[in-house]
Symmetry: C2
Subunit: 624 residues, 2 copies
């Protein structure tokens, strides 16, 4: 350890790290493997990255003063993103400030597999006749006689002839997209695997597939460690340009996590990583750029044009993905700067172009991607829904992890569904939609989105619900969803006027996007034969509640709305299992026309209109 | 310098090197960049690697005693291959012991260029419209709009988008076999080069081509530095297996020399190596294996099957060829273990399959390659002609360099042609053929190959010629071609009985190969419409003399014999200039059936018969 570095110890995790002076506590924690949650991207506004400096505290910053009480400040509470290391420190990191933990696996999807099982990876066991003077056919040509023609790179050119001889001209040839990538001893045709990745801005999910049977062998979900550099794609893009090694730092963060996930899959399943010959990655355009080490700066500036469009077939060794080093990596094609490979994978896995149209696919997240299929035409747009649906920028928001309220029914009093049946610690996106829809239904929130004060509440509202409408210290109205539990550190869980506005913005953005696409296609919402809701998040949304708050147009029969789950991961699986699925993915990306909403003259008008919650009560029953 | 190493200084070159004890003088010299000639492969038999140890001489070895006189031994004369470094030394290396020097460029060929100029490398200058919100087509797709579709690797994926922006969406795209390999500032379409290599066992020749015009810009010839590890392919194969880094040592030797040749071409022409986007290599099967770092052991053992057959398209960076690192390297397809890419290149450049058949192509060298084209069928065989035609294993043999007797006429007395008009120091292959043919014509050598002693010489032989038939100290007959010049260190240049036998072996092997191929095709020699003599060596052979000694069948009208020169280099040029030429090379290699002479029951018989010089006088006139 250099004398110019300081030592920072994190409790109760007991991890230490040596860092240069002026490192933020956030970065120091990341260095110790602790990902502190920073939905605002580390700019000191969200107040989520609370830590307690036990030893070595400096004077609080302005941001600290805004967030913490005087007593908390005295107790050493600070924002990790705003404070810097200026000496040796000991820091308490409450688990509530950490991202991840028992984060739910968001890999499930309701879609099936590709029609044909014909993976780009092929294994062939061969027993060749060794060469003789009468039959001196060159080694690789001899092998091609049994496998069909292949290309060969320098590494296998050097390896294969020796292996052929060492193994008595017997063994298993591994072919990847028509290239010889390995020649293994014995018959290993039963050991042929691929790994599919969905690289979300927040969550990474990986699925290990047996390419022989198409079966999923293991799955794993992890936080994207890039979250320590900012919560949304724009903060990542900004970070990538903030120093000369920052792009590589982001690249390594995601690649190394992918490596650890492969290790975990391998341990869980007993599959040797050498027998994984292909990895497929689907993610939004920024995530895919960062994964490949391609500068994403241009995605952060008008006109947001991506670097590449077609799918990429790269070498596992070049990309540093720790599968068989001669294996390959497929990165999905993208449609636009904010309509990425995850959307293409979704179009593939939902077979959107084979459905009876018009069909709408909506992937709800911080960035909402919307694709309309009509008359064989595909239109795609993205809209900045904001992080409300992921629990950020909401006073009591949180992600869909243990302790999150994910379901709310207001019927006389409050009934809550909490993930993991734990004591509630916050509200996740689906809970928020429920809550807003229920408040609207009960008239506690007006169609314009006003949280009505106690004296304006509708007659007939139960006393119990009415009692939850309270004023905060500054006289602002709030709805108390859960009181603090005695004997715990939990605060009250309340919805504020500001929270409702955030939600309105999110709903408005998505609704406006849907309206513009429908208008460009000359369609009405009622023309839609089906609406596919995608995203790990989507699997928790109740359809009629989403319609009630105007996220999905009310004109659509709610039976036509389908949750398709994480179709991005499903699509990534498909391309591992079928060469024609991969071709189809390329075709879908090429066929889809990208509509830039910000240049549509009607967008702002639609957006303003969609901000207002729908007046009419939706006809469908409340789903439980 | 480690104290365990010794310092060896070579004079008059003034080069020093530090080596481990027990290093041979040969290796030490190679370390100092001096390639000492070792036709025998460094086993102490040829006596060519003479050096004078000025300081630090040890007791002479047995091999030294066999080669040097007592006086020479006392003067410090030693064989570089047999003596080892056991202390600091100063060593005189006479230029006669060095290989190369003013070695002739053997790059010339009488064949033309390919029919179409359509190189695999293509440069396109583009001025693109920068993206806007209305036109947010991804960068690489935008570029494809101007260049046509291309594939992209990781390196260019990372580089191209930034370059596009830095250069204001203008610049020159470089496409290699449909892959984007560079994007350069400005219009550099005029700067597009490729480099063709003929990698001979002894000599490497390179030609720099302007791919825009097809013109040769510069050419360079160097010795293959692998000669310090042995003179023929078998000694190289043996060396490659002699230690665990020996294969890589051979690979680096040839790759580094190729690099120096590219540097020399660049200096001579002023062409930036970054503007060389492709290198094509043609060589015999062993040379190509070593170039690629592929273990050649299997080429040294029955059944001599090569590792690969198809042409290889590799990355310049992977192969460490110092052209544009994103550029590519094409290595020719091979036909068999001893019929390599140089032969395929020859078939391509002579357009053998477009000629009126039957046609025979013979590449005369240590290894003779013979290809017969008849009725659209191609048959190829190789035959061990021995090193006589390259001046080795012949008492006064030498390569075709300055001082070599390359032409001999015995007419009353001896008339000699000497390369460089210098004092003669030895006889090269073509001189040897002349000499043997003339001795045969004069009756000094009998058809059976007997060098007649003075008392058996034919009547009518000029006194001057008869006087040159002498007895050596052991009573063996020899023909004195040149007396030692007074005041020089030159010895007498004589042909011995043993030399005639070596030549008979070489002629016999090639003649037998030709006979077998003709027989397999059901043809007689007189059916041949043309015979193409290839090889750098071939350009010095006089056709009727070659027929007189039976190297080429006498039944063929000598006007049908054509010298095509170094067609290996010519073919390597073709594939740089034309994609269809490259396809054609692959097709020729695939179509050619390899005939293994050693399994032909008739070969030994044919060989024995061909050992006898033809009886009849050839009808053609003596060519001058």
């Amino acid at each position: 350890m250099s004398s110019s570095q300081h030592r920072v110890t994190f409790q109760p995790q007991g991890r230490s790290v040596s860092v240069l002076p002026e490192t933020t506590l956030l970065e120091a924690a990341a260095g110790a493997g602790l990902i502190v949650d920073t939905p605002c991207g580390g700019v000191g506004t969200c107040g989520k990255c609370r830590v307690q400096v036990v030893r070595g505290a400096e004077a609080p910053t302005q941001a600290d003063r805004r967030v913490f009480s005087a007593k908390e400040l005295e107790g050493g509470w600070r924002l990790a993103c705003q404070n810097r290391v200026r000496g040796n420190m000991v820091i308490e990191v409450p688990s509530a400030s950490l991202f991840g933990g028992d984060h739910q696996i968001q890999g499930s999807s309701t879609v099936g597999g590709p029609r044909e099982l014909l993976p780009p990876i092929r294994k062939v066991y061969v027993e060749l006749t060794p060469p003789t003077l009468e039959d001196d056919v060159p080694d690789l040509l001899r092998l091609e006689g049994a496998t069909g023609p292949f290309k060969v790179g320098l590494a296998m050119l050097r390896l294969a002839p020796r292996r052929l001889r060492d193994q008595g001209f017997k063994g298993t040839a591994v072919l990847s997209d028509g290239q010889l990538v390995d020649f293994e001893a014995g018959d290993t045709t039963g050991q042929c695997f691929g790994v599919a990745f969905d690289i979300g801005t927040t969550t990474m999910v990986a699925s290990l597939l047996d390419l022989g049977s198409g079966a999923e062998v293991a799955t794993v979900s992890r936080m994207n460690p890039q979250v320590s550099f900012g919560d949304d794609v724009l903060s990542r893009i900004k970070h990538s340009a903030s120093c000369h090694h920052c792009l590589d730092e982001l690249r390594r963060a995601v690649i190394e996590e992918a490596g650890r996930m492969i290790e975990a899959l391998s341990q869980e399943s007993g599959v040797d990583p050498q027998h994984i010959y292909e990895a497929a990655f689907a993610g939004n355009t920024t995530m895919q750029h960062l994964l490949c080490g391609v500068d994403p700066s241009q995605l952060g500036e008008v006109p947001f044009a991506p670097a590449y469009a077609r799918g990429l077939l790269l070498s596992a060794r070049d990309l540093e993905v720790p599968i068989n080093p001669h294996g390959s990596v497929y990165v999905f094609p993208v449609i636009g700067g904010f309509v990425g490979g995850d959307t293409v994978a979704g179009l593939l896995a939902t077979q959107i172009d084979a459905q009876e149209g018009p069909v709408l696919m909506v992937d709800i997240g911080t960035n909402g991607e919307i694709v309309l299929m009509h008359d064989g035409q595909l239109l795609a747009a993205s809209t900045a829904a904001g992080p409300a649906f992921e629990g950020a920028r909401i006073s009591c928001g949180m992600r869909g992890t243990r302790g999150a309220i994910e379901k709310v029914v207001l019927d006389g009093d409050v009934q809550l569904g909490v993930i993991g049946n734990a004591a509630p610690t916050g509200v996740c996106g689906s809970g928020l939609i429920d809550l807003a829809a229920e408040l609207l239904r009960q008239g506690i929130v007006s169609p314009e989105g006003r949280l009505r004060p106690a004296d304006e509440l509708p007659a007939g509202l139960s006393a119990s619900l009415a009692g939850r409408v309270q004023q905060d210290g500054d006289g602002r109205t709030e709805f108390v969803l859960a009181e603090p539990e005695i004997g715990t550190s939990h605060r009250a869980i309340t919805l504020t006027q500001r929270d409702v506005r955030e939600l309105q913005l999110g709903c408005g953005a998505i609704r406006a996007g849907i309206s513009i696409l429908l208008r460009q296609a000359g369609l009405k919402a009622s023309d839609l034969k089906s609406v596919l809701i995608a995203g790990g998040f989507g699997s928790f949304i109740r359809r009629n509640q989403a319609q009630r708050i105007g996220l999905i147009p009310q004109e659509i029969d709610h039976r036509r709305i389908h949750y398709v789950g994480n179709v991005s991961l499903a699509g990534a699986r498909w391309v591992l299992l079928s060469v024609s699925a991969r071709r189809h993915a390329e075709e879908l990306a090429r066929r889809t026309r990208h509509v830039e909403l910000s240049v549509d003259m009607d967008f702002q008008m639609e957006f303003a209109e969609a901000m207002v919650f729908p007046e009419g009560e939706h006809a469908g029953e409340t789903e439980q």
